[in-house]
């Protein structure tokens, strides 16, 4: 009993001593909105370690995108901070819902590296703390048994999957999140960028996808879909993760941030041991990967008192510069925080950066394009219309929405 007490005391003492070193004890009220995956939970927990006397609340939700704009539009805003990514910061910027934080960075952001700052027009609008991308996962045992080298391009992924299918080992050897809507559109974005495509005519909001690159993109998506579970249009990242863990898939494109849950102790040990990570694939002879780079970072709500913003910043900056956190949770994410030593689970993102992957386009009208893609290319994948017709539909749907929103 005494031993336990001593250990407890030691732990308590240890953490306070540590927190004292980095944290200037905020007060007031802190309320954070964030997506729901392990690395973000760790990040917010770490921030909570520096809550001082503040009232600390957090909402982790995979529906964060749907909540964010209405919740931050209210005045005072429901949340004092929102953990956003390249795409989700755009609607906040468009509606002028987040505040620049240059002063706060100067005052409290000692441990934050310059490379973590997201600056737009010279103002710091977000502080990034982790990077993410989609890359390839493969089953080493299956590929070895059939003598297939690790694929580097999507053409090789197709060839490898066809070989696995022909061997009779697996009926649907490939998986990617092709759920109609956001996920499917994201796969199109990746593949289109891999083909060297630009979504808009230079300097305008005019769409630019109905061309040879768009057609090649769609054809590749269709080929991959034909090698996937026939229900691919209803499968999101979580569903394909389950497929992988049941051993029915040998090649998969999935988020780097999910590698932790694939490689943990849960599930079949044989499959976990044979699960290997590699960089994202290229496509169509291009040299940049068919993937987009993402950052996750925190933003501060504009419609909230200055003192709450300050408290929130202190707590979140404590986490965004926390060497202990990145050391303890090194396998949960690719942290952008100083002191991070990349482990085996970070291979995907690091390879993507090395290969020169592009960040997800942070344009004000990109969300409308993404939305149009998610619903209009479905019929092509189902074999109901031609690639040209599908791309024409996407452009037409986008143009109507962009006109309503005043971009065209």
């Amino acid at each position: 009993m005494r031993k336990i007490l001593l250990t407890l005391l030691f732990v308590l003492f240890g953490t306070t001593a540590y927190a004292d070193g980095h944290c200037s004890k905020p007060s007031g009220s802190i309320n954070i909105l964030a997506n729901d995956f392990p690395a973000l939970r760790t990040f917010v927990e770490t921030a909570k370690g520096c809550k001082g006397s503040a009232d600390f609340k957090v909402t982790h939700s995979s529906e964060h995108n749907k909540i964010a704009v209405p919740a931050l539009t209210a005045n005072p805003s429901e949340f004092s901070a929102r953990i956003a990514a390249n795409s989700s910061i755009v609607p906040l910027m468009n509606q002028d819902l987040i505040r620049p934080m240059d002063d706060l960075v100067k005052k409290y952001g000692k441990g934050i590296q310059d490379s973590q700052l997201i600056t737009i027009d010279g103002k710091v609008m977000a502080v990034a703390f982790m990077a993410n991308t989609q890359h390839l996962y493969y089953r080493e045992d299956v590929l070895k048994e059939l003598g297939i080298p690790v694929p580097k391009t999507y053409e090789e992924v197709v060839a490898a999957s066809e070989k696995i299918r022909a061997s009779g080992k697996m009926q649907h050897p490939y998986a990617a999140a092709y759920k109609a809507g956001w996920n499917l559109a994201e796969e199109f974005v990746n593949m289109f960028i891999g083909h060297g495509g630009e979504f808009f005519k230079a300097g305008t909001a005019e769409p630019n996808i109905n061309n040879a690159k768009g057609v090649a993109t769609l054809n590749m998506l269709k080929k991959l879909a034909s090698l996937s579970n026939p229900d691919y249009l209803t499968h999101d990242s979580e569903a394909i993760k389950v497929e992988w863990e049941s051993g029915k898939v040998a090649l998969m494109t999935l988020w780097a941030s999910r590698s932790g849950t694939l490689l943990d102790d849960e599930g079949d040990a044989k499959i976990t041991a044979a699960t290997k990570l590699t960089g994202p694939a290229t496509v169509g002879g291009g040299n940049i990967p068919a993937a987009t780079l993402w950052w996750d970072g925190f933003t501060l709500a504009k419609n909230r008192s200055d003192s709450d913003a300050e408290s929130t910043f202190i707590a979140l900056a404590h986490a965004a510069s926390n060497k202990k956190m990145v050391a303890d949770a090194a396998d949960q994410a690719v942290w952008l925080v100083e002191g991070f030593v990349p482990g085996p689970k970070s291979i995907g993102v690091i390879e993507a950066v090395k290969m020169g992957a592009k960040p997800y386009p942070m344009l004000p009208q990109m969300g409308l394009m993404h939305g149009a893609l998610g619903s209009e290319i479905v019929e092509f994948l189902q074999g109901k219309e031609s690639a040209e017709q599908a791309l024409k539909d996407v452009e037409a749907a986008y143009i109507s929405k962009a006109k309503e929103q005043g971009f065209l």
Binding site: N65, K66, S87, V90, P91, M93, N94, D96, S115, L117, I118, T119, I120, D121, G122, A128, A131, Q171, K179, A180, G181, W182, L184, A205, N229, P230, D231, Y232, L233, T234, E243, S246, K248, L293, W295, V353, K358, P359, M362, L363, P364, G367, L368, H370, G371, G374, S375, V378, Q382, E385, D393, A396, A397, I399, S400, K401, K403, E404, Q405, G406
Partner: protein, 342 residues
Amino acid sequence: MPNKTFFWFFLPTGLAMILFIGLPIISTGIQSFYAQHDQVVKEVKKCDPFGCTVSIVVDQEATSILRDEKPLGKFNGFGTYIDRNHLAIEQISDFWKETDTFGEFINQVTNLPFYKALLFTLTYCLFVTPNVLLLGFIIALSLNAISRKIRGPLIFGTILPMIVTPLVGSLVLFWMIDAEGIIGANLQLMMEDPYLSLKSSRTLTWITIIIYGIWHHSPFAFVVFYAALQTVPQEPVEAAIIDGASRYQRIRHIVLPHIYPVVTFVALISLMDNFRVFEPIIGFSAEGSAQSLSWLIYDNLVNEEVILFGSAAATSMMTIIGIAILLAPVLIRTWKEFRTAR
């Protein structure tokens, strides 16, 4: 009830209806005529962990001036109603000129989002409503004929689909018909086709959702019909039996005319409910193959990173008009009967 008593009796409900239903509809109607201001954008330097680029952002200062002047946005009249994502007047007249055959024209039109959704919504209504009425009536008749001892538990079992939350019900079925699920996998085995998928084929998805709809809505019809059956007077039925009328003849000529007003009521409610079909599409993740008008509104409000208020409002208004048109024949008939009864 004297009119005055009725007025005071109805007043609280009426006020609540105006406040919570009437005013929001008016507000939605007004919003549907407005679009966002023209976006003022500017080029800026943008830096993130992956490097610096020149990018475009919305110029907040210029935009806020515009917004303060006209907070509702830019007046757009029926612009949103007739654009490509709604009634698509222009596109349809183009298709009419460009296409050679009528089939091709219909194909092109049903490829437009609004008509695609309308087609599914109407198909769903047309298949689900009559089947719900029929199935509900048959169940009510059979249960009414069963010994009283076991009637209680049977009634409870029958209304279960209505008790189960729609989303939960559809999710359970969703996993069962997955290619790896119990129904999906067995269907593949039976058909000897490893590529068979209830979820990837449009026709099969529609059939699944329609069957689910019938399963989910029948208990409502059953409950109402069962209650109505209890009021059927026994004397004419007994007289008919003595006259040698068959079971079918008794139902056709005595029971049905008696419960006819109830049938109209159930038909009305079902039609309205089915026209707003929404939950099964989310539950079955079927947005790829089946979209309804309600789903379009949800999509505009929730799935987009930029909320399309104008679009959502326009679709809402058209859904209300759609329901009114669908209900018109039944309403007119009821009104006429009411007049002749007087």
